[in-house]
């Protein structure tokens, strides 16, 4: 499948940013294309595949047995690569897993695009198929929730 060869590496890198595990990332991407093949689909744009991979990774993160395994794999190196964004809020795997228990599905997806992929508002709108205005509202709400959760985690004993 051409799309697999063309976009596979980009999608593995994307999945790895969430899962912090190369093997799991390769697995997620392969599974996605197996399903697409079975559905007889072959023409895709990268933003569409980005979203499909994101959702598959989040499904994995929500599974408690997977959470334990990923954290174990990550060992002490759970922190994601330092964000270069000026706002500089780092979301590590541990926090992401905790947020996966708290946030709504769509909020969690938004969080990945915003804090792990550094997508702009326009890009998030494109990937999620919503208006920029809607995404702007979502982001404002998300930033508040994440800041509160991160602060409460820091304050916890």
């Amino acid at each position: 499948m051409d799309a697999y060869l063309r976009y596979g590496a980009a999608l593995v890198r994307k999945a790895e940013r969430i899962l912090r595990d190369r093997e799991d990332a390769r697995d997620v991407v392969q599974a996605l294309f197996v399903e697409l093949l079975q559905r007889g689909e072959s023409a895709f744009a990268l933003p569409y595949l980005y979203r499909a991979v994101t959702n598959r990774c989040l499904n994995l993160l929500r599974d408690r047995s997977t959470q334990a395994r990923l954290l174990e794999h990550g060992g002490g190196a759970l922190v994601l690569p330092a964000r270069t964004n000026c706002e500089d809020l780092a979301v590590d795997l541990d926090l992401l897993i905790r947020l996966s228990r708290t946030l709504e599905r769509e909020q969690l997806e938004l969080l990945v695009y915003r804090y792990l992929d550094d997508l702009s508002q326009a890009e998030i709108a494109e990937v999620m198929g919503k208006s920029r205005r809607t995404i702007g509202k979502y982001l404002a709400a998300l930033d508040t929730v994440v800041a509160q959760l991160a602060a409460s985690e820091e304050g916890a004993p």
């Binding site: 499948m1 697999y4 060869l5 063309r6 976009y7 596979g8 590496a9 980009a10 593995v12 890198r13 994307k14 940013r17 093997e23 390769r26 697995d27 991407v29 392969q30 599974a31 294309f33 197996v34 399903e35 093949l37 079975q38 559905r39 007889g40 689909e41 990268l46 933003p47 980005y50 598959r56 989040l58 499904n59 994995l60 929500r62 599974d63 047995s65 997977t66 690569p81 330092a82 270069t84 964004n85 000026c86 500089d88 992929d117 550094d118 997508l119 702009s120 890009e123 990937v127």
Partner: protein, 232 residues
């Protein structure tokens, strides 16, 4: 890592730049940013990494197709396959086998032996389910257990509806052990039970033709039976 002094270029945009999928103006804007931003340049360099992808299954058991063109294509392919299979029957005249026939040599659900296969079943929602059954959208991973001294390779074969499928690439065993994951995943469809087997070779090459009949599996094979969810 140095910091980006403005809004960083997203990973998506960097990947699209690498793939030459951006419009010219956008492409120039990204290039201009990369020239002055060390942090984003590092990210961009990462998009050049070659990553070995897991192979897609060569044969998808019971693959579905959508659309009339795809259905016609499958019909023609099916006719061609049927003709080829008929030719094979005439030439080789293998013994008939079906899903109800057990491979005499392969062991089912080996526990305590020196080789074992374990299936992991994940629903499309990500939920882990009992691997005794399969349903649409499920994907399976195979884990094998074998002695650390085991060498050679292992091949996963799925027998279903009278056919043999090879959904995963053969794995060369450099060091075996407990619950070694075979790279890749596969799906099961259809209404017939499936027999998922791991066939070990001790250094020789596994010939797929000799694995087409589950009753002729090598002794060092181990299988799990998986039933369609409707048969629960």
């Amino acid at each position: 890592m140095t910091r980006c002094t403005s809004q960083p270029v997203s990973y998506l945009k960097l990947e699209r730049r690498r793939l030459n999928e951006l419009a010219l103006a956008e492409c120039r804007a990204v290039d201009a940013h990369l020239e002055r931003c060390g942090a984003c340049s590092v990210r961009y360099a990462q998009t050049a990494e070659r990553i070995e992808l897991l192979p897609l299954p060569e044969v998808l058991p019971r693959a579905r197709a959508v659309g009339a063109a795809a259905r016609w294509g499958l019909a023609f392919a099916g006719l061609a396959l049927a003709a080829a299979a008929l030719l094979l029957v005439v030439v080789q005249a293998p013994r008939p086998f079906g899903p109800r026939l057990e491979p005499p040599e392969a062991r089912l659900r080996v526990r305590g032996g020196d080789i074992a296969i374990e299936l992991v079943r994940m629903a499309s929602s990500g939920e882990l389910l009992a691997p005794t059954h399969f349903a649409a959208g499920d994907r399976f991973k195979a884990r094998i257990t074998c002695p650390t001294t085991q060498r050679g390779g292992v091949q996963v074969v799925v027998y279903q509806g009278g056919g043999a499928f090879f959904p995963l690439a053969p794995l060369a065993l450099e060091r075996c052990g407990n619950q070694v994951s075979i790279p890749g995943a596969f799906a099961l469809e259809g209404r017939e039970p499936a027999l998922v087997c791991a066939v070990f070779d001790d250094g020789g090459t596994l010939d797929r033709n000799t694995l087409s009949d589950p009753r002729a599996l090598p002794k060092r094979s181990v299988c799990e039976r998986v039933l369609p969810a409707a048969a629960r």
